[in-house]
């Protein structure tokens, strides 16, 4: 196909045009949100903001930062991610490594495996899980956001398959040298697992960052909401937050409205994911490939 036929040329033109339009549909909503967040209340109320801020100002952001609620929720999210990531990685490694052995090296391996996969298929659902978490006294605690999903079985399986695809000789030679399982895992396997752990860690970070639902049901006090739960609260009750705000926030409050204020905070809620997105994209696809079972 060195030269292009006319029909191919026409097709290509429409193809590029169509795909570009679809891509715009993925980007423009965010651009609009950003434009609204920087615009004046008057411009927003008269629907004159499209993709460029009208009467550029920063009041909505000033409000978000001076009001304190946004930063408090961000702090909860950061703590949650730190704790959640640690717990997730620890459990994924501790579970995936033994399960990567054959059942001749780990008796009962298939029973363990069936146990974990069973919980992936069958679950008690919302209500019983809520009852268990509240009975354990975890309501309002950061642990309620971390422990129920402490072992993401899917990520564990990805890591397990990754280990199984590594050459077996690595472990065997170490074993001949007299190294125990714990030492092998710590000294030999961990460095080799880094690329796969990066993938699994990204899954975990994005999962914890984006999860708003556990915060909604387990955090009784809105002051403990992680960021996404706070944003969800914002969608419904921003007026309430604005009314309760005072002090430093008062001057910004007068020059913004629900729409601009909400847009600014929603946009900031999306920014961290947008920043790490290029890595995400690479790792998510390779992660899926790495996790595939060897034929």
């Amino acid at each position: 196909m060195i030269y292009k036929s006319t029909s191919k040329r026409i097709f290509d033109t429409f193809n590029y045009l169509f795909i570009t339009l679809v891509c715009l549909s993925c980007i423009l909503p965010f651009v609009h949100l950003l434009a609204v967040s920087f615009s004046s209340t008057l411009a927003v109320q008269t629907n004159s903001v499209i993709f460029w801020p009208v009467d550029f100002n920063l009041y909505a952001y000033e409000f978000a930062f001076s009001n304190g609620r946004f930063l408090a929720a961000l702090w909860v999210s950061i703590q949650r991610i730190a704790l959640g990531l640690l717990v997730n990685l620890l459990l994924i490694i501790l579970t995936a490594y033994p399960l990567s052995h054959n059942k001749s090296k780990l008796h009962g391996r298939n029973i363990y495996m069936a146990y974990f996969v069973f919980t992936m298929i069958f679950n008690g659902g919302l209500i019983p899980t809520f009852i268990v978490v509240s009975r354990l006294g975890l309501l309002n605690s950061l642990w309620a956001l971390v422990l129920p999903g402490a072992l993401p079985v899917f990520s564990m399986i990805i890591l397990m398959n990754f280990i199984r695809n590594l050459p077996e000789e690595l472990q065997e030679s170490a074993m001949l040298d007299g190294a125990g399982s714990i030492k092998i895992l710590y000294k030999i396997m961990l460095p080799l697992l880094k690329p796969c752990l990066a993938t699994v860690a990204l899954f975990s970070i994005v999962g914890h960052w984006n999860d708003w639902f556990s915060g909604l049901i387990y955090m009784r006090n809105p002051a403990n909401f992680p960021l996404q739960t706070y944003l969800q609260f914002l969608l419904l009750r921003f007026e309430q937050i604005m009314m309760m705000a005072g002090g430093d926030a008062a001057s910004a409050l007068a020059r913004m409205n629900v729409q601009t204020g909400r847009a600014a905070q929603l946009f900031m809620g999306a920014v961290p994911v947008l920043i790490i997105y290029p890595f995400l994209q690479r790792y998510f696809t390779t992660g899926l490939v790495m996790g595939s079972v060897k034929g």
Binding site: M1, S7, K8, F11, D12, N15, Y16, I19, V22, C23, C26, I27, P29, F30, H32, L33, N47, L91, T95, Y97, P98, H101, H107, Y112, M113, Y115, V117, T119, F122, N123, G124, G125, L126, I127, P128, F130, V132, V133, R135, L147, L151, M156, I157, W209, N210, W212, F213, I217, Q228, L231, Q232, L235, L266, V273, Y277, L280, Q281, T285, V293, G295
Partner: protein, 299 residues
């Protein structure tokens, strides 16, 4: 007995490593599963999972509620459309993207369409409230073509289509990326041979590309079977309102309202057990089919 001791002496570190995972999964997955028995009880906070038995009373009550029966239909409607479109749209898009020879643009397009996947439904909902409002930019745009303003999120006939299409919009990038990855693996010699035989690009797509994609399309379709009762809680919960309950209320949002907001734990668990059971059966079937026909082992 002796053999168990011998095995443990050798394998104990591995079994020890599994303890935390086994225990946590037991507490947060197995106990809640056992807790589903409150669906057959009248739940009482003081007695917990040992509350008085009421047999099938909760289920009888539920199925006598038109509000609940309606959620089953709504769930099936929204979920089935999502499943079907989530197969067709990514395949179609992967084929179109595959025609783009410029590597830079191909990468760029992939990156852009995959992006909304990683944004939470809370943020996307906020954006949708903004742009889909009656006076929002989407209606302003449609107004150019003389279309009357549409109440995307408040009209009960439109709401579920808004849910279906916005979810496809958010998620189709994922399938597209997967299909494109398989397309790059196709032997270029096939296309050259077809070209020699006078097949144009369209024919090559129909007779080479699509058949080569079939196994993975089958696989993705089979695996999506388990989603038939999953109409997308995160999305609908953030976008619906009482005015669209008639077409937009789904099983999961019903569980949330009745079970948690109204604190009728037994009723919530009854709906949940019904949903869990059907989903589990479907997922198990889909895993079996995926293994049988696509050679894909989930574990």
């Amino acid at each position: 007995m002796k053999s168990i001791v011998r095995i443990l002496r050798k394998e104990w570190p591995l079994h020890l490593m599994l303890v935390p995972g086994v225990v946590l999964v037991f507490i947060f997955s197995i106990i809640p599963l056992y807790g589903l028995i409150i669906a057959f009880q009248r739940y009482n906070v003081a007695m917990g999972f040992g509350s008085p038995w009421v047999g099938l009373a909760n289920f009888e009550f539920l199925f006598s509620q038109p509000d609940f029966v309606r959620t089953i239909w709504n769930t099936l409607f929204i979920a089935s459309w999502k499943i079907v479109l989530m197969i067709i749209v990514p395949v179609f898009f992967a084929l179109l993207l595959n025609e783009i020879r410029n590597v830079f643009f191909k990468r760029l397009f992939q990156t852009v369409i995959y992006m909304p996947n990683f944004i939470s439904w809370v943020i996307l909902s906020g954006i949708m409230f903004e742009i889909l409002a009656v006076s929002g930019i989407v209606n302003q745009f449609l107004g150019i073509f003389g279309v009357q303003p549409i109440w995307f999120l408040g009209d009960e006939n439109v709401f579920r289509w808004t849910m279906i299409f916005s979810d496809v919009w958010r998620s189709f990038g994922f399938g597209t990326v997967i299909y494109l990855a398989t397309l790059t693996g196709i032997d270029q010699g096939l296309y050259e041979a077809a070209h020699m035989d006078g097949a144009n690009r369209f024919k090559q797509t129909i007779y080479i590309t699509l058949p080569m994609m079939m196994p993975i399309i089958m696989l993705m379709s089979i695996l999506s079977l388990g989603n038939i009762l999953n109409a997308g809680f995160d999305q609908i919960f953030n976008l619906y309102s009482p005015i669209v309950y008639s077409t937009g209320d789904i099983i999961d949002t019903y569980i949330f309202r009745v079970g948690l907001e109204q604190a009728q734990f037994s009723l919530g668990a009854a709906v949940g057990s019904f949903r869990s059971l059907i989903s589990a059966v479907l997922i198990a079937i889909s895993y079996y089919l995926a293994d049988r026909f696509a050679g894909y082992r989930v574990f």
